[in-house]
Every structure is written in C-alpha cells, then in structure tokens.
C-alpha cells in the first residue's frame, strides 16, 4: 500500500535511532552507573566496560551506606514505600473525587460552576512555596504536620486539578446523547455514569491518573516542609546521598533506577487504556 523507498526507510530508521539515543541514553547511562562503584564512575575517561557490582543495590536494600568516612544509615526503602503510599493514595483519592466532579462540570451548567473549576485549576498557578507557608501553619494547628493524611491532602493540590481538567475535556467530547440513549431505556443516572460515561472516558482517566501519579511521585517541596524523615518520599530522601564525604553517585543511580520502576510499570499498564482510546476513534458520532 504505502510505497516507501529503501532510502527513505534508512533515513527514517536513522532519525528514529537518533531520537531514541537522545532520550534513552541518560537512562541507559544511569542504569550502567548503578552497577558501578563510585571509583569506577569517577574515573577518567569513563568506560563502558567494567565489572558490575550489586553493592549499590545491597546498600539501598539493607539501608547501610558505606562511605570513606564510615557507615551511614539511610532510609531509602522506607522513602520508596512512602512515595508509593503517598502517590497511590493521592491519585486514588483524586480519581474518586475528581472524576465525578469532572463529569458534573462537563454535563451540568450550574451557578459559579466555571468559577469553581477555575479556582481549582488556579492552585497550579501559584508557586508551591507561597501556598505552603500558610498551609504549614494551619497544619500545625490541625495536628496534620507529619501525618500521611495531611500529606495526601496537600497532594490533592497537585492531583485533583490535573484529573479534573483532563477528564472533564474527555467527558465533554462524549455526545451526551449516547448517555441519553441509555437512560431512556430505563437506566438511572448513576448506572449510566458507571456503564457509559466512565468506560468512554477511560483513556482520559488513565492518562490523567498516570500524569497525576508522576507529578505526585516527583513532588519534593510539600514533603520537605510538611513531613519529617519517617514520612518523606524518595525525592526528599535522596538528599541523604549527599554525604559529608562526597556524593554517592553509584547509590544515587541505583536509587533512581529503583524509584523510576513503579512509574514505568504503571505507564506500561496504563498504555493499554491510552491506546484503546485511540482505536475507539470518533466517539462523537
């Protein structure tokens, strides 16, 4: 069907390889670094050939970091657990709140509706520190500082607007008459929402959920200010690798590899739904 000359094919392959190299090389390099000792990493010139070592991973898993200045305790695994807990529960909560809200904003025009939606979005405009300083005072009074609940709550500032606005757009793209056709056959509002609206918006929900997860996972400042060591996620915990005796590149690389894994797995999983959205094509019909 499509007539592509060999030349075109070669050029295309080269270009794709270039793009992949550009994006994937740093990740690949970090993967290599995670299997090297600090000395191997820092030698000049750098080399692709080395004897791989698992000592970085062992240090992270056991929580004992051996540096030139002696042993150091790090709570990386705990941080990773915190990250997982915080991001997952924040996204789930934001989905539970945001998807019905997005549906309401898309389908029903009510007084102040636009203003409320915009206010929610505007949380994303303000520099986080500006929001955080007053918030930390409130949190102290409410005894929410350094609690998971408090953190999940502030994480809604990141997740909720994102989910609300992306999913709302998807709901708006679905012709309301598809739902009407279902409702008129005798089904109630709630069943229509579950059986028709949600499945049709699933690609949007998957995309929004994934994005929210990434944003929550990468958040640094909220937990830095509002949580102590025991509740901090990897982003904050990674500061521990900058030790008095130098920066532990090997462990950092291993930590990065470990902390990227959950997001990567989630992205691979969510991809199914993202692609499903494309193949469904014109929902508007």
């Amino acid at each position: 069907m499509n007539q592509i000359s060999t030349f075109e094919r070669i050029v295309r392959g080269l270009l794709i390889a270039l793009v992949l190299l550009f994006f994937l090389f740093p990740i690949f390099w970090i993967l290599l670094m995670s299997f090297q000792t600090n000395e191997q990493i820092l030698r000049i010139p750098p080399s692709l050939f080395f004897e791989p070592t698992l000592q970085n991973y062992v240090a992270l898993l056991t929580g004992r970091l051996q540096t030139a200045a002696g042993n150091l305790d790090i709570a990386f695994m705990r941080n990773l657990g915190n990250s997982l807990l915080l991001s997952t529960s924040s996204v789930l909560l934001a989905l539970a709140l945001g998807v019905p809200a997005a549906y309401a904003f898309a389908r029903y025009k009510f007084r102040l509706g636009e203003s409320i939606a915009f206010t929610l979005l505007s949380f994303r405009f303000a520099p986080p520190l500006l929001v955080l300083l007053p918030l930390s005072l409130f949190f102290r009074q409410l005894h929410l500082t350094d609690t998971y609940i408090g953190l999940i709550w502030v994480y809604q500032l990141i997740c909720l607007p994102l989910i609300l606005w992306i999913v709302r757009g998807y709901f708006e793209d679905i012709s309301p008459d598809i739902e009407h056709a279902y409702r008129i056959s005798g089904h109630g509002w709630w069943k229509t929402f579950r059986k028709i609206a949600i499945p049709l918006a699933r690609p949007g929900i998957a995309a929004a959920g994934l994005l929210a997860f990434i944003f929550a996972w990468n958040n640094f400042i909220f937990a830095l200010i509002l949580a102590s060591a025991s509740k901090q996620p990897v982003t904050v915990g990674a500061l521990a690798f900058v030790t008095a005796s130098g920066i532990q590149y090997g462990q950092i690389a291993a930590a990065i590899v470990l902390s990227v894994t959950p997001t990567l797995l989630l992205a691979l999983y969510a991809q199914r739904y993202l692609v499903e959205g494309l193949s469904l094509g014109a929902v508007k019909g």
Partner: protein, 372 residues
C-alpha cells in the same frame, strides 16, 4: 400504545452569555393512541427541542406533557416509558451493532433468546443484518442511522420519538423502509412522533402532520387537510412541490359576486377572476393556486395569457414557468406542452382551486371560491 398530550408547551434556551432563544412557543398537540404523527418544518424550527422535552432531556419551560393521562414532564427520562432515535445516532462505540440494538431491551428481563429473535427481526426489517457484528465506528452514516432507529423501534415503547430517522438513506431504500416502518408501527400499535423536513416522508408515513415554523405550531391535520386547506400562507407555500403560486390581490365587490385582481409587481392588475361570494370592497388578500391545478393551454374561456419563460418535460410531467403581467407563475401538466420561451399560452385558474389568505395575518380566508 399510549396517548400523548402536549399542553401549551414552551421552551426557552438561555445559553450562558448569549441571547436567549425561544425554540418552542405554546405548542399544544394531542396524539391519539397508536397514531403516527410527523413534525414537519424547516431546520431550526424547534422540532428536535419538542422531542427532547417529551423524552426528558430538556426541561419544559412552560406547559404540561402527559402520556396516557399521566403528567410526565417532571419525571426523569428512565421513568417516562418512551423510546427515541436520535438525530446524531448516538451509538455506543465499544459495543457491536447487535449489542447496541439489544441493550435497549436488557432491562426488560426478557429471555436472551427472545432478545436475539427481536434483534434479528428488526435488523432484517431495516436491512442491517449483515453489519450486526460490526462496530458503530466502521459502518456508514446510513447504517448508523438505521442501527439507531432499530434501537428505538425494538422496544415497542408506549411512545416512540424518531428524530429524522431516515435522513441519511438513499431514496430507493428510504421508500422501501418507509413502507416497512409504517407496517411495523401499525402492527404494534405504536404511538409515534417523528421529525422530518421531507414532506413526502411526512405525507407517506403520518396519520397527521404537525407543521411548525419558528417554534410555533402552524397546523395540525391529516395530510389531505394540510394539502387542501392550509391554515395560513406559511403552510400553503411550505407544502407541495413545486410550491403554491402566491399573488397579491385586491377584491372589488360587485353585488353578489366579487372581482379578484391579481396584482403585478407595480400594483397594476395582471389578471382578473370573478367569483360568486361576498367580501369587503377593496380588501387586500393573497391569492394562492397550486401549480398542478392551473389549466394550461385551455381552450375557450381563459383567465389570462401567459408568456412562457421555461418549459421542461421531466418524463412524466411538464414544469412550465410563465409570466402574467409581471407575475411569474409555475404550472405543472401531465402532458408535454408544445410551447417555447416567448410563446403565448392561454391559462385558466379554476375557481375551486383558488385559496385566499389575509394579506396581513396570512390566515386562510377561503379554500375554493364559489363552492359554498
């Protein structure tokens, strides 16, 4: 299977930040049990709005809607017992055509074998059997439309609402399906309101036609009534193909009879008819006559002489456009007429075929003159 009554129903849309639109204005309509009613009108006259109010997707701004005597306009759509085929088809993309049609029935707890049977029956009726296992996104617009129609018909609901159910079909298929649809609706005694802007379809399918314009109900009657005694100028010129000839006219009273002068563009008389009736002297009216009823080439007593502008033989009828004293007139005959542009033709306006309308309000004054 139930009667439907609209009482003074109005609909006003108030879009945010835009001017409000009065889409339906005080429409009253009584649809009998098992009756098929067409809503006929040009685009934007409020037909879809009417159906959506009956179905419950738009609130009624004013007025009442009853089905089987019960007020339903405040009930949610699920409790109204109506079925609807949407103008935009609105099929559910993740489901196959078969499931789209069947899901309307799932709630009625029929045995699934029974549902299967009904689906294949309705599919056969609408010629979509061979696409039952495809998905809505890969079938043509006409097939989508028939699927949507099938989804509404299969329910045999007490009231069925069909919004332009066959607008996407090619003419031959449309004619076949029209007949089948009518049989189906009659067989199951389904009270049906369908929207169309195709008058042939309305006349062929409907027991009664509701003609709408600018949100107002113009006339509600049988196809024959609408054709023979249009209630106003709008209905007169909207129904009929080619449309009715309309002239400005003045009436001069002469004892028991009147002389009606058709006026040319400058107000001077173009032709004159004498009719045995009474009317106010000097009254301004509009005179209408359908193209088929003008007698062209009449021997003997001609009312006027027309100068031929065009003359087309369409294979089964002639459309002749001619000019009388500055008025252009269209006539239709079922025989070819031997006349070329510029020729003079004797023309007769049979009094029985003449309609008179009030020049200001447009209301009908008389259908056929001198036949009281």
């Amino acid at each position: 299977m139930a009667q439907l009554a609209l009482g003074n129903v109005s609909k006003t849309y108030r879009p945010r930040g835009k001017e409000q639109v009065q889409a339906v204005k005080r429409v009253s309509l009584d649809v009998k049990d098992g009756e098929i009613v067409a809503l006929l009108g040009s685009s934007g006259c409020g037909k879809t709005s009417m159906l959506r109010m009956i179905a419950g997707f738009e609130e009624v701004t004013e007025g009442t809607i009853r089905i089987g005597g019960k007020e339903i306009h405040n009930l949610p759509p699920a409790q109204r017992d109506v079925a609807m085929a949407f103008e935009g088809y609105s099929l559910y993309p993740p489901l196959k055509v078969r499931e789209n049609i069947g899901f309307a029935l799932l709630r009625e707890r029929g045995a699934s074998a029974d549902i299967e049977k009904r689906v294949s029956h309705i599919a056969e009726l609408l010629e979509i059997t061979d696409i039952l296992d495809r998905y809505p996104t890969v079938i043509s617009a006409g097939q989508q439309q028939r699927t949507s129609l099938a989804r509404a018909l299969i329910r045999r609901a007490p009231v069925s609402l069909l919004d332009e159910p066959m607008s996407q079909l090619e003419p031959q298929l449309r004619a076949i399906l029209r007949a089948r649809l009518k049989d189906y609706l009659i067989e199951h005694k389904m009270t049906t309101v369908f929207v169309t802007h195709d008058q042939t379809e309305a006349i062929a399918l409907a027991d009664r036609i509701a003609v709408m314009e600018k949100g107002e109900l113009q006339q509600f009657g049988t196809p024959a009534e609408i054709k023979q005694s249009p209630s106003n100028l709008f209905v007169a010129s909207f129904i009929g193909e080619p449309p009715m000839n309309i002239f400005d006219a003045a009436i001069a009273s002469e004892g028991n009879a009147v002389a009606i002068s058709g006026l040319g563009p400058n107000g001077e008389p173009a032709f004159r008819l004498n009719a045995p009736m009474e009317a106010a002297n000097g009254k301004r009216v509009c005179l209408g006559i359908r193209p088929h009823l003008i007698e062209i080439g009449a021997n003997g007593s001609a009312d006027a002489t027309g100068r031929v502008i065009t003359n087309h033989w369409l294979g089964d009828q002639s459309h002749i456009c001619f000019e009388i004293g500055g008025c252009s007139v269209v006539g239709v005959t079922d025989k070819p007429i031997d006349a070329r542009a510029g020729d003079a033709l004797p023309v007769r306006f049979p009094l029985g075929a003449v309609h008179l309308f009030d020049a200001e309000s447009g209301r009908a004054l008389a259908h056929g003159l001198g036949q009281r």
